[in-house]
Amino acid sequence: MSAIAIEKNSVLDIAAVIQSSVNQFPILKDQRNDALAQFQKLGLPSAKQEEFKHTPITRLLEKNFDFKLANQKSEITNIDQFAIPTLEANVVFFVNGLFSKERSSIISSETEISILSLEEAVEKKSEVVLAHISKYIDLKTDAFANWNTAAWRSGLFVHVPANSKVETPIVVYHIHDASNGQVISHNRNLIILEEGSSVSIVEKYDSVEKSNHFSNAVTEAVVAKNAELNLYAIQNDLNNRFQYGLTQIYQSDSSRVNTFTFSLSGKLIRNNLHLTLDGENIESHMYGLYLLENDTLTDNHTVVDHRKPNSFSNELYKGIMDGSSKGIFNGKIYVRPQAQKTNAFQSNKNILLTDNAGINTKPQLEIWADDVKCSHGCTSGELDEEALFYLRSRGISKETSQAMMLYAFAGELLDSVKHPAIKNYLDQIISERLHKDF
């Protein structure tokens, strides 16, 4: 059988499963049916497509999943192991993609913030949901986004009213219980920050047991004038996680967004992070760290789209590749013709620890305005020999010297995390991974 025939089959299998739930939310019926049709038209991306050049996601998914299967019931109990210690937070749990009310606990008041499952919000807050859902993501070319749009059954809905500064962060645990076979989930999240509000959200991805599991998640965030969003993704799933995540953030005047993407484990992780800066005096920071080992692959595709004048964006992504792992970075900066006086900076730095590891990086600038300051830089290399010698000449062993330098390299990203409990938690994982013994 030819490869094309196999591909068509998997699309058919997926479409058949979607069909069973496509009409689940009456007010979203058209949107979901359109998305299904578009998904069938696009098919899963081939390795020839520029955006998937180094990430054979379709081949790996087809090899590792049976799309016809439904998820098994989960009886998972021990979920405390995934918690971030000492962090006081609003906690939201999703198990195998479905909202778990009994495990979630919201401590902030309802006047301060509404935190619901998206399926509940579709019923109770349909106006707000309809005003935003699928308005910002690319449904023309992104097959996975269409798949999610047509297939999602559960997700997170956050609505922060004007001028509400929410001090207690939200931690969203996406748990896959892979003890009874494969899991496929499609979470759909909608985060709305009204004028002058602020909130921090941590998305954490974990699993139990060894079956393959795939998460195709879409998050849309709308950050209104003067609002501030801090969005953390902690990807440290030691099991067989495959993930395609699209996070689309839409920013208005004078808003601030800080994103932190820590990819520390996972078989195949593809993060699409898109920031649309549709206002003036916006400030956006995107931080990313990927520490890869064994045969894992992490692919960060980011887009910063400057559409209006006088905004600032800064992106710093760093990676350390060990074993036969592979890192991929593609960072696009667009500066549209009206976006004069834009300042946009991007930096991607990589260290390869073995010759079986690899990095493919493509920092990309597309500028249509002349009065701008934009730059990108990227490097790949091993640890600086001079610096290693300096450390060793002070009596520090070679191994410790290397660990010190790797930790310092990664530490720049840890420093960007301001929340103490989150920072400590990440510090612990990273220290252990980099064999910090000093």
């Binding site: 493509k362 990108h376 490097t379």
Partner: protein
């Protein structure tokens, strides 16, 4: 007089200065492309059977290929059946002695500043002059011949040095490398061939001057440079075309083969007709240039100043196969009005301790779009490879675009790669400083742009550097104020 002053003096002229047409009779193939046209071209050139077979093979491969669409350029679909694939100035005698060349042709090249006649030749440069599809004359052939250097038209090389042509043609750019290279392989009409023997340092610059004259023709020339062990050559290429309303296709192939310890420096000043202010006409410049550093310690250096063409699609590249070999790419690409350029390089590091350096300066003005596209690939075996890339873009006005698409692929941990890119505009304070010293705004821009591009211009041989500076200024004519 300083270089800068010369630039300023030339800066008053307003139009593309090489836009005139020579009235010579030409001998052409009918429009369109099929196997018979390929046979026609081959027969016109009295080629041996192996050459015809090679062309036909390329043609068949081409018919199965698709025109690439990944570049950041937009143009109406090219009708490949609406192009004349062979056009040659009619010459009474095939003997190709320089004395026998049609005086009109000699005049043509003299207007371009290239003299083919004995008395007026540029002293340090040997020239192969190519008009439309064929080479019309090569200077200093005998002088070079004494040192064992072969420098002649490609057609002559096919007839006189078949063993060299057979061995190296297609060895760096395979027939089916890409759509335009396959097309060229099928229908190429002439070009230059150059062989530098072992240990010989070529005493003068070798140069090919390309001129498109006839209407509706495509130009498909092919250049092959083979540098044997320990040799050195510096090669220059210049190009112009008349102003015509239709777009004309130029699909060339350049191959460089450098053996152990050999060094080749290839410089281009590309000034094909860019089309008029409204984007009408101009050359589609779809060119494949590649060098193979086959031997250890070999070095290939590309320098290009791209000011012309409606569309440029060109990536002079280096395959660094030999250990310790080195590749360089220095580029200035200026686009104005509705020009589109998608240009850059590939540095493929295969051997150990290989080094590459990329310096690209893009300048966009008017409604033009200027893209840098480059790849640095460090293969697994290439331990201690080094690359440094600097890609800067300068924007003039808010109707143009600057794009940077660098691909960096690293498979060896001891490799060190550094890539930097910036985008900026000419500083108002810089312009004001010049104005305050009595320099008008356009001249100020020319001065600043030349300064911006200096690192690249410095790589050019002297005669070319002056011309390149003038060209930069001319291309940006009318882009400020």
């Amino acid at each position: 007089m300083s270089k800068d002053n010369q630039v300023l003096e030339e800066f008053t002229s307003k139009e593309y200065e090489h836009g005139w047409i020579t009235n010579i009779e030409s001998d052409s193939a009918p429009k369109g492309l099929n196997e018979d046209i390929v046979r026609f071209i081959s027969a016109k050139k009295n080629e041996p059977q192996w050459m015809l077979d090679w062309r036909l093979d390329a043609y068949r491969k081409w018919t199965k290929m698709k025109e690439p669409v990944w570049a950041n350029v937009h143009y109406p679909k090219i009708n490949y059946q609406d192009i004349i694939y062979y056009s040659a100035p009619k010459q009474s005698d095939k003997s190709k002695k320089l004395e026998d060349i049609d005086p009109e042709l000699i005049k043509t090249f003299e207007r371009l500043g290239i003299s083919l006649t004995e008395q007026k030749r540029l002293s340090g440069i040997a020239v192969d002059a190519v008009i439309d599809s064929v080479s019309v004359g090569t200077t200093f052939k005998e002088t070079l011949g004494e040192m064992g250097i072969i420098f002649c038209s490609f057609s002559e090389a096919v007839l006189n040095h078949p063993e060299l042509v057979k061995k190296y043609m297609g060895s760096v750019v395979p027939v089916n490398d890409n759509y335009f290279a396959a097309l060229n392989s099928a229908v190429f009409t002439d070009g230059s061939f150059c062989y530098i023997p072992k240990g010989v340092r070529c005493p003068m610059e070798l140069s090919t001057y390309f001129r498109i004259n006839a209407a509706n023709t495509g130009q498909f020339e092919r250049t092959l440079i083979v540098a044997d062990e320990g040799s050195y050559v510096s090669y220059l290429e210049g190009c112009t075309a008349p102003m015509r309303d239709e777009n004309q296709l130029h699909a060339a192939v350049v191959e460089i083969y450098a053996m152990k310890d050999a060094q080749v420096k290839y410089s281009t000043v590309q000034n094909w007709y860019p089309g008029d202010k409204n984007g009408k006409g101009g050359i589609y410049n779809f060119v494949t240039k590649r060098g193979l550093c086959f031997g250890d310690n070999s070095k290939i250096s590309w320098t290009q100043v791209e000011t012309g063409s409606a569309i440029t699609w060109k990536y002079p590249s280096c395959i660094l196969k030999g250990d310790n070999s080195m590749g360089e790419f220095y580029s200035v690409a200026v686009t104005n009005n509705y020009q589109q350029a998608d240009t850059g390089t590939k540095m493929i590091h295969i051997g150990k301790n290989t080094k590459s350096r990329i310096v690209s300066k893009g300048i966009s003005a008017g409604h033009s779009q200027n893209s840098y596209r480059g790849q640095v690939h460090i293969m697994k075996r290439a331990s201690n490879a080094r690359n440094f890339s600097q890609c800067d873009s300068l924007l003039m006005g808010d109707q143009c675009g600057a794009h940077t698409f660098p691909y960096i692929d690293v498979e060896n941990s001891s490799a060190r790669i550094e890539h930097e890119a910036t985008t900026s505009k000419i500083g108002e304070d810089q312009i004001f400083y010049c104005l305050q010293r009595g320099i008008d705004e356009e001249s100020a821009v020319a001065l600043i742009v030349n300064g911006y591009a200096k690192e690249v211009l410095n790589q050019l041989p002297m005669e070319f550097a002056v011309e390149a500076q003038k060209l930069l200024a001319l291309t940006l004519e009318g882009s400020v104020g």
